[in-house]
């Protein structure tokens, strides 16, 4: 098993390098010159040259790349073109908001979705199962902003929770206060991940439930509860952990739309602003951060799948 994990880590590392190359080269094919954009049409040639030298843009691409990558991993992502502030500072101001939303979503959304999905798999074809499948199918196929809009209608107009967007300091607040604070973005994101999570966890358990050893357990007179919790879940655990990690990775995508929708000052709105102002240094840094998170979650998903496989844990 260890060689497998090492191999997977190696692939992860190669992926990170490939990703950094894609992001770096992607921002390099910008038609406009970064210095030109920053300094405007009136800038003199000398000014632009000086600016380029300050950013290191006069160096060959491979040096720029190495400097950038080294900077990224040592916490120096350069200076924003749009606001002249260090990227790390911009991220520092906002990362808490995004981390809170993502963490709360995971803490609330994952257990509930898993419970719903596994429960549906216990009674396949039942009214509950079909209802849940219908809901999750519709949710998978709906854009995040529809879910968000419906929630706004329910919470803001229906229940009179006041402003759709409530953001302030989050320090010193309890769990429930925090939830109310972030209610709409979190609930929306919960629905976003729940749709996939319910479908996939249900499929994972159902897949195991159709195997001959479950039939054997039925024929041994094993009670239903024990069949589910001892015989089925043990084997579905790997796929389920895998599904959870994959869905947390989906959060990376979902969070962008949701933050923009609610005008929520997180990292995702920052990167969208970066794209609009063509602040390529910001895009490089933040894009790399998002992709790194995503790659790490995928890595965890795969390692979890290895770890829950009895064949790999107990080799011959």
């Amino acid at each position: 098993m260890l060689p497998l994990i090492i191999k997977r880590l190696g692939i992860g590392l190669i992926t990170v390098i490939a990703v950094s190359l894609i992001i770096f080269l992607g921002t390099k094919i910008l038609p406009g010159d970064a210095a030109q954009i920053r300094l405007g049409q009136e800038a003199t040639e000398a000014n632009i040259a000086a600016f380029r030298a300050r950013l290191g843009l006069d160096q060959p691409y491979y040096l720029q790349y190495i400097n950038w990558l080294f900077g990224f991993f040592t916490g120096d992502m350069g200076t924003s073109l749009a606001s002249d502030k260090p990227i790390t500072e911009l991220i520092y101001d906002r990362y808490e908001n995004t981390v809170y939303v993502a963490t709360l979503t995971a803490l609330i959304g994952v257990p509930i979705s898993l419970a719903l999905g596994i429960f549906a798999a216990m009674f396949p074809g039942s009214l509950y199962d079909r209802f849940l499948t219908m809901i999750s199918v519709s949710l998978v196929a709906s854009p995040e902003f529809l879910t968000a809009t419906i929630l706004v209608l329910i919470f803001v107009f229906g229940m009179g929770w006041g402003n759709a967007v409530v953001v302030g300091s989050i320090e010193g607040k309890g769990f429930f206060e925090l939830y109310r604070h972030f209610a709409l973005p979190i609930t929306t994101l919960c629905f976003v991940i729940a749709s996939q999570l319910i479908r996939m966890s249900r499929a994972a358990v159902l897949n195991v439930m159709n195997s001959p050893y479950i039939e054997m357990a039925i024929l041994k007179g094993v009670p239903r509860r024990r069949i589910i919790f001892r015989h089925a879940l043990l084997n579905a655990l790997g796929p389920i952990v895998n599904v959870v990690a994959l869905n947390l990775a989906y959060l990376v995508t979902g969070v962008i739309v949701v933050e923009v929708y609610f005008g929520y000052p997180g990292l995702a709105t920052l990167i969208v602003q970066g794209v609009q102002t063509r602040d390529f240094i910001l895009i490089q840094g933040l894009g790399m951060l998002f992709c790194l998170t995503y790659v790490i979650l995928m890595l965890i998903a795969d390692i979890a799948a290895f770890a829950s496989n009895a064949r790999l844990r107990h080799p011959k």
Partner: protein, 610 residues
């Protein structure tokens, strides 16, 4: 026998039992159409029939269980007088696994891969509170000993993937017996096993059933196996009982035509000299296909040898119009040899010749004409036919490709081919999934014959088929060989099938030739010890054969031993009753050839092998 003491206690009785399948549109399709039989204490009742006869469905009914998509449609399934077909899951729970235990065909799929073996073996009695954990563990340990499992003290702590297939099959028996059931249901428990492993498992089952004094329902399609283990036989066809009676009566004087056909389908082991004679007019020709000193395998080539060597130093020559049978256990390299012939696996060393001329080792370098002359027939008819092509197109393509036929000529030839394999010409319009397994295998053969080949390579073509269907395919092959004068290479793990069909036999063991020669020579003494083991492992449809067989010294040493692929000396060393330590395990055995071209590779003198 335990049977005498409780003679009249009926453990299970099916009364006009009916089971239906529920189709997509909600209508019901009868699968079991009113079946009656009973099982008394101490008795083993065999349900025998082809796939589709409803035998597994009936056996599961004794546990009050129907597979998803099926339902009880009438009649009664009485376990000790209670109708289990009408009980709820909760009511059935104390019966299942405790009073009635089930053994499935594939132990590998039946054991939960994530739970240690012992927990699974002792689960039922502990859950049903008929045994404490200590009692159950003790019982399991006794069973491990009784079933002759290696390292019985520790085997329960392993995970299912850590033990071999034959061991797992026996562990499943332990799982079934741990709760001291009154009725055992065994669903083809030995079908997936090699002949030698099958004997070992059968022997263990029989002993344990007798010891426990339980009743058993044994489901199988193999009459020869049934003769060894059953007291009573129920013959099923299409969900109906065709004949039922005591084993000796049914085996010795079957009445119903269907039972007779089942009996005929069992090929008795031909005595020496019974290999079919096909006339010798071509004998002096050069061999059609020949391989010389072939080494072949997979993986990277290191020092001229592949890292995983499958075949070593194999010579086979196929004479025109003759059949060469290649036999051995699974993993012995017989399919690899077929792939070498076909050019799918270029050998690492050695040469191949077609009609006396050197043939390129790889498919890509062979000419159109060379490819035409060698045709391959696959084991699994299901995957060998493209599901998206009609039979007419499947058969028509080689005609077009090799002979340039088209239009009416092609259609006429396709019809000829269908007739040749005894199928109606309308089949040309059908798709493979509309055919049964035997019919698909016939199409598979017809496709090979479409190119007018000189050699047809048949890789286990009857192994996936039921006994009767397989026997019909063999009959067809014999007729085709007579009519067409084509040479066949017939690969099988079933010695009796090979023996009934081949002129020459090659016995492969761990990728090496153990014995080779004309069929009657190979099947008569002197034998290679491995050939002797194979011959004695072919089940005979006679009561008492199993006991006789397991007492032979080949069986004693050969059945439980393991194959040693990387052996320096003789690969059969660990399983050989005549093994000479110091010689057989260190030096490769010499090749001994007598004047009939009969080869035996053994350290022992042929006189000692008589």
């Amino acid at each position: 026998m335990a049977k005498q003491t409780h003679k009249d206690e009926i453990i299970f009785e099916a009364k006009n039992l009916q089971i239906s399948a529920i189709r997509d549109d909600g209508s019901e399709l009868p699968i079991v159409k009113g079946v009656d039989f009973n099982v008394k204490r101490g008795e083993v009742v065999a349900l025998i029939g082809e796939s589709g006869s409803g035998k597994t469905t009936i056996s599961l009914a004794s546990l009050g269980y129907c597979k998803p998509g099926l339902k009880f449609a009438g009649g009664e399934a009485l376990f000790k007088g209670q109708d289990v077909s009408k009980m709820t899951t909760d009511e059935l729970r104390p019966i299942r696994g405790e009073k009635v235990a089930y053994l499935a065909q594939s132990a590998a799929a039946t054991f939960n891969p994530s739970i240690r073996i012992n927990e699974q073996v002792t689960e039922a009695p502990i859950l049903h509170k008929t045994k404490t954990k200590e009692q159950a563990d003790k019982k399991a340990l006794e069973l491990y000993h009784a079933l002759e499992l290696p390292d019985p003290e520790n085997i329960g702590n392993r995970f299912p993937h850590q033990v071999s297939g034959g061991q797992l099959q026996r562990l499943m028996a332990a799982m079934a017996l741990c709760g001291d059931p009154d009725l055992l249901v065994l669903d083809e428990p030995t079908t997936a096993l090699d002949v030698t492993t099958q004997i070992e498992v059968l022997k263990a089952f029989k002993a344990v059933i007798k010891q426990q004094g339980a009743a058993a329902i044994y489901v199988t399609h193999d009459l020869a196996v049934v003769a060894q283990i059953a007291d009573h036989i129920v013959v099923l066809y299409n969900g109906e009982v065709k004949e039922a009676g005591p084993t000796d009566v049914l085996i010795n004087s079957p009445q119903h035509p269907y039972t007779k056909r089942l009996m005929e389908a069992i090929r008795p082991m031909p005595e020496a000299g019974l290999g079919e004679d096909v006339g010798d007019e071509h004998l002096r020709d050069v061999p059609v296909l020949e391989v010389n000193e072939i080494d072949a395998g997979y993986g990277k080539i290191v020092n001229g040898m592949p890292s995983s060597l499958i075949l070593k130093d194999v010579n086979v020559s196929i004479k025109r119009g003759k059949t060469v049978g290649i036999i051995g256990e699974s993993g012995c390299g017989k399919s690899t040899l077929a792939r070498v012939f076909a050019g799918l696996l270029p050998p690492a060393n050695g040469s191949i010749a077609l009609d006396g001329e050197v043939l390129a080792p790889s498919l890509k370098q062979r000419s159109h004409e060379e490819l035409r002359k060698i045709q391959f027939v696959y084991q699994m008819a299901d995957t060998a036919l493209n599901p998206r092509q009609r039979i007419g197109d499947i058969l028509g393509r080689p005609l077009e490709f090799y002979h340039g036929l088209s239009g009416k000529k092609k259609t006429a030839r396709v019809n000829d081919l269908l007739e040749m394999v005894e199928l109606p010409s309308q089949f040309a319009q059908r798709y493979p999934h509309e055919l049964s397994g035997g019919q698909k295998q016939r199409i598979n053969l017809a496709r090979a014959l479409a190119s007018d080949p000189e050699v047809v390579l048949c890789d286990e073509v009857t192994s996936a088929l039921d006994t009767i269907v397989g026997a019909n395919v063999i009959e067809l092959l014999k007729r085709l060989r007579r009519d067409l004068g084509v040479s066949f290479v017939f690969i099988s793990h079933d010695l009796s099938t090979v023996a009934s069909f081949a002129d020459e036999i090659v016995v492969l063991y761990a990728g090496r030739v153990a014995e080779q020669g004309p069929t009657d020579q190979v099947l008569s003494p002197p034998y290679h010890p491995y050939t002797r083991l194979l011959i004695s492992s072919v089940p005979e449809p006679r009561v008492g054969w199993l006991e006789d067989m397991t007492e032979t010294k080949e069986a004693v040493s050969g059945i439980s031993g393991t194959v040693d692929i990387d052996a320096i000396g003789c690969p059969f060393f660990k399983r050989c009753p005549h093994a000479i330590t110091g010689t057989c395990d260190t030096t490769a055995p010499p090749r001994q050839i007598d004047n009939n071209n009969h080869i035996i590779e053994c350290h022992l003198d042929t006189k000692d092998l008589l």
